[in-house]
């Protein structure tokens, strides 16, 4: 592992009731978050390939931890998302280097598939900044019941020279979805869209 990890955080959320009506089985989602050192904080560095390699490592580590937290095989994951928050001395481009070039492939390996784009968000912020990780169906981005977001936060991160990287996975869509659109049983799951 070339990433210098200060902290790993995992959170699981299970919803038993929404709008006063029972959710059965409960909808479940998990996020795994790594707080790592940003070796490029405070100066402009042209070549970000080391952060891209860290993205590859974290893609596997965080997706494994999040799936393990749900306690299901990777193939049973229904939706996913990723996000990063860069501390105050870093650039948004540092988050992009971790999230976009290499993080996705190991995630898809852990999940068995993942034809859809992994929806993402990024920002710069101080300690305790919130990340809203966008969620979408892993094989068909247009599945409307699975559009969602999961807020995560680590109270003491990111420090100025750190990056917080998060991956979220679910075993379900929203509780009580009823706004129509493409249903998960209708997808082909080949082009990542439908």
């Amino acid at each position: 592992m070339s990433a210098k990890i200060r902290k790993l955080v995992t959170m699981i959320e299970e919803t038993f009731s929404e709008g006063g009506r029972a959710v059965s089985p409960p909808t479940r989602r998990a996020a795994a978050i790594a707080v790592i050192e940003n070796t490029h904080a405070g100066r402009f560095v042209e070549d970000l390939s080391d952060l891209m390699a860290i993205g590859e490592e974290l893609g596997e580590l965080l997706s494994r931890r999040a799936v393990a937290a749900l306690g299901i095989p990777g193939e049973k994951v229904e939706s996913y998302g990723k996000a990063a928050a860069v501390g105050e001395d870093g650039e948004l481009e540092h988050a992009a280097a971790i999230l976009h070039p290499k993080l996705g492939a190991p995630v898809r390996k852990v999940l068995g598939k993942g034809a859809a784009l992994i929806p993402s968000s990024k920002k710069r912020g101080g300690l305790g900044v919130t990340l809203d990780i966008p969620l979408g169906h892993k094989d068909a981005a247009f599945v409307r019941s699975h559009f969602d977001g999961m807020e995560v936060r680590v109270s003491d991160a990111p420090r100025a020279n750190e990056i917080m990287v998060a991956i979220a996975v679910t075993d379900s869509g929203r509780p009580h979805p009823r706004v129509g659109g493409l249903q998960k049983h209708e997808i082909r799951g080949e082009d990542g869209l439908r």
Binding site: I5, R6, K7, L8, V9, T10, M11, I12, E13, E14, T15, F16, S17, E18, A69, T130, E151, R153, V154, S155
Partner: protein
């Protein structure tokens, strides 16, 4: 007796590898479990509320078991604990006080009769309210290396008519503890204090 109606359960686990100093051999692991339940006394003054403590006992036990499972350690490896509650705006802080007995009971049952008082914090707050749950050593409150706090919160809870109940546990001292005082190895562990 009012029924315990659970809307959501959130579990979070954090592995702390270092905080700028030498990396720990074993990461310091901390976790919390949060249950969002309906507050049966919201919106009205009810004089006799003590019966609800008994109703909450199974939840306290279930949450303690969930937390141990999420931490992935044996009960004997838990060295610190704490508890807390956030009561939604239509309730009283006194309703949060109902968690003292069942929350402590649940953890003592699972951890096998710990000696120290379970430190606690509570307040009335809105959705997303953050709570700093105090942590002390499970058998001797004065152990300085184990004083800590875990910040928790749920973005959409507590609603006005809800309560968030929290249990927290840790597997050891702060990662770079060096502030002296009573050491865990020096405790007698009889009176719960030293």
């Amino acid at each position: 007796m009012p029924e315990v109606v659970i809307r959501k359960i959130v579990t979070q686990v954090e592995d702390v590898f270092h905080e700028g100093g030498p990396a720990a051999k074993q990461p310091y692991r901390r976790g919390a479990v949060l249950a969002v339940i309906a507050n049966p006394y919201a919106g009205k003054y009810v004089a006799d509320i003590q019966g609800f403590m008994e109703d909450l006992k199974p939840l306290g036990l279930d949450m303690a078991k969930r937390l141990i499972a999420a931490l992935g350690v044996a009960p004997g490896e838990i060295e610190g604990y704490g508890k807390g509650a956030v009561v939604g705006s239509a309730g009283e802080v006194e309703h949060g006080a109902l968690w003292h007995a069942p929350g402590g009971y649940g953890m003592r049952e699972v951890l096998g009769g710990t000696k120290a008082i379970v430190p606690s914090a509570k307040k009335v707050g809105g959705p997303g309210a953050r709570l700093d749950v105090p942590i002390t050593h499970v058998n001797a409150s004065f152990v300085r290396s184990h004083f800590d706090a875990i910040e928790v919160g749920i973005v959409d809870a507590p609603r006005a008519g809800e309560m968030v109940l929290v249990l927290a546990m840790t597997t050891g001292p702060r990662v770079h503890n060096r502030a002296g005082g009573l050491a865990a190895k020096d405790i007698k562990g009889e009176d719960g204090l030293r």
